[in-house]
Point group: C2
Chain length 442, copies 2
């Protein structure tokens, strides 16, 4: 049976079709016109942060590298393009041997970005670069939106662990990417097994209300869970009456009970009551996990409550009000001719209706004050000023089509925490405001 | 090389890991307790519509059927679960032979739903049903959110075609599902090639600003595009000066020019000007496509403008303010024992903190007035009243583990249009309001 008939994630055999059709029609027209081989520079950037946000977080870079490596037009895909007459035969022939052979530079994953930051730069022939627009943007726009929400939540949570549990609220594969981005943004674990399988993120999970309801009595359910998963498990205590459930839980598991989970009600109030009850029952080491429609504001409001961990779902995977970024992939320079030595000319859209941008291949650096705190995002097209040379942000990711900069996910996570700690203190205010550092063009 | 190393969509070899870990730990505990085989009924429903929305749209049902069919624990997956010690050996053994053998009923795809509507009902042993929670919810919550936004946009657009072009604003595979859901909700075409490949949705696309910028003059770009794609192509006219571009476009392609696209500026104003200019140039048949950050309100505001088609991206794939639904998957009834003949007992969470629900296996019907317009969503657990018997909403989707109700995507699309036409007229008002019909429990 053809996997394409099954609705499996294998239905698209390479990343080449995560592409808007116009990329292929532009390719066809440029091949015919003799302009397809002009050396070109595309940059990914955003004109603004989501309203009220102080900083953006680059996430998905590792997935972009995977996508570029696997951008191949195999027989199935070519057959589809031929059958639908999406492009002509010379274009199909060109696509059949497609491999990206250009260069990619970008902000390393987990780094901050600001309006105008050139978070990714793709350089090669127009033909090979133009095809990557959609898949690059899909990944960066989605993953960076989730990482930004995660970062706000993890800074609100302080040292308390955050559990990602939003898989049920987003597309099943978006969920895997969301768990990955959340981890970069400071989350500790995920409930999503696919994210554990694919990216090695630590997974957690114990039980739902259904498990209690399956049994004749709450006591039976708790006993079954403790028998099977041990006293260190987390018991869900809000199916019927919370106080009674806590009593039963400690009665069964003793003071070694790992944790109780509260998934409804006034969490602040309930957490205080449950903590007091647990302490009175001698279960002073039993932790309290809360998990009901939390966002960064709710997390912050529980800072003084006796809560030991937060589980976050909906608001994380929907970017806490900003489910996507507004990153664009723009041609900023191209050669005057197909001659590989031809000089690059800066280009930019110029119509009066908005969406204008700045032409030319850019560098970016973060200027810091004497204590090491970020002061400005400096972006330029000429030579890099000497005092900024060692503050440059773009790193080489792909060289001549070869990925040169793979890294474990923990590196991106650590980088993010370090970069956030070097922003001005107001960066982690949850209140709405402007970007925490200005963007300066030189 | 292991595909899991490549970041390909094939990285998860079946749908079984689109699962929150607690489903497996509940399974383990229930297997040990002897309660895993109790016959159980789970229902998917939502307690409310997103704020201000008049109706919900069921989408993703076809993808749910694919996911259930492909929910298999193969050697790779079992190896992962063993290595991480997520469940014990008896559970792994049980999972190795897992196939869903139960029954699924649900609202047919494209149908409307309201608060409390049992949009999907999954029945079988607790063990086999509990595992499907996350993947079922991921699909329905995502796809239904997109379809609801699409439905509002398509009702605002009236007879004018809508092009889905949001792939770059969401996860690359969420984009494919979004294009599918948009089509169900009334969109006409998509720019996403993967959606064309996987679901046969018609694809479209011509060129971006980069294509104009690649060439030395706008005229060269237009000429190259017309040479390659024919006079019927759509030329993008807002890279430099719109009026000049329109003049050049008609000069090159003649009055046979298919369309011009405007992607920035005050669309209402620009569309009027461009229409007048096209008409003066004799290109009276050349259409105008607009594509800049549209949502249902912007579409409605262009109703009187000379616009022939809308391209919608960000706001569609992010659900126009509501990127997810709040559907839950709840145990509503289960047997008193593992005996397959044991009677079912209704169950429901009862704590005071909210999130309560109504126990028992439910039927649902849409009561209609004498003209055939919907009057109420009627939901009950007892026998179906005679006058509602032929208005029932749930259909059989899976019987004894076999999918019995596959259909082409166009059926869901047609069903949606028909169902929307039979709602009260206020359903398609864009203003915020309550659900357009009440939910009644009997």
């Amino acid at each position: 049976m053809n996997p394409a008939d099954l609705g499996l994630p294998v239905d698209v055999p390479s990343t080449a079709l995560f592409t808007d059709q116009y990329e292929l029609t532009m390719l066809q027209a440029a091949l015919a016109a003799g302009t397809a081989e002009r050396r070109s520079v595309f940059e990914v950037f955003t004109r603004r942060l989501p309203e009220g946000r102080r900083y953006g977080v680059v996430a998905g870079t590792g997935r972009v590298l995977d996508a570029v490596e696997n951008f191949r037009f195999d027989a199935d895909v070519l057959g589809f393009l031929r059958e639908r007459a999406i492009v002509d035969e010379p274009t199909l022939e060109w696509l059949a041997s497609y491999r990206f052979r250009g260069d990619v530079w970008g902000y390393p994953e987990g780094e901050m970005y600001f309006p105008g930051s050139p978070v990714l730069r793709v350089e090669g022939s127009f033909a090979e670069c133009v095809l990557l627009e959609t898949v690059v943007l899909s990944i960066l726009n989605h993953d960076s939106a989730i990482a930004a929400a995660a970062s706000r939540m993890s800074s609100a949570a302080g040292d308390r662990p955050l559990i990602e549990m939003g898989a049920r609220r987003t597309h099943e594969l978006a969920a895997v990417a969301a768990a990955r981005a959340a981890y970069v943004g400071g989350f500790t674990t995920t409930s999503d097994l696919a994210a554990g399988f694919r990216y090695g993120i630590p997974t957690v999970g114990t039980s739902a209300h259904a498990f209690t309801l399956l049994h004749d009595h709450e006591r039976d359910a708790f006993q079954a869970q403790v028998n099977s998963l041990g006293r260190g498990t987390t018991l869900l205590v809000d199916t019927y009456d919370v106080a009674e459930a806590v009593r039963t839980a400690v009665d069964i598991a003793g003071p070694e009970l790992g944790a109780v989970r509260i998934d409804s009600g006034d969490l602040l109030l309930v957490a205080h009551r449950v903590r007091q009850q647990l302490d009175e029952l001698g279960a002073t080491g039993t932790r309290i996990v809360v998990t009901s429609d939390l966002d960064e504001y709710a997390i912050a409001s529980l800072a003084a409550a006796p809560v030991d961990a937060y589980g976050v779902g909906t608001q994380l995977v929907t970017g806490s009000g900003h489910p996507t970024c507004s990153m664009v992939y723009k041609l900023v320079a191209r050669a005057e001719s197909a001659d590989p030595k031809a000089p690059l000319v800066p280009v930019a859209k110029k119509s009066t209706g908005g969406k204008t941008s700045i032409g030319g291949r850019k560098w970016a650096a973060r200027r810091r004050d004497e204590r090491g705190f970020a002061e400005a995002e400096v972006i330029g097209t000429g030579p890099v000023p000497g005092d900024l040379a060692d503050q440059q942000l773009l790193v080489e990711l792909v060289k001549g089509g070869q990925v040169v900069s793979r890294e474990p996910l923990d590196m991106a996570r650590d980088r993010h925490a370090a970069a956030r700690a070097r922003l001005p203190l107001s960066a982690t205010q949850l209140s709405r405001g402007e970007a925490v550092i200005p963007t300066e063009y030189v």
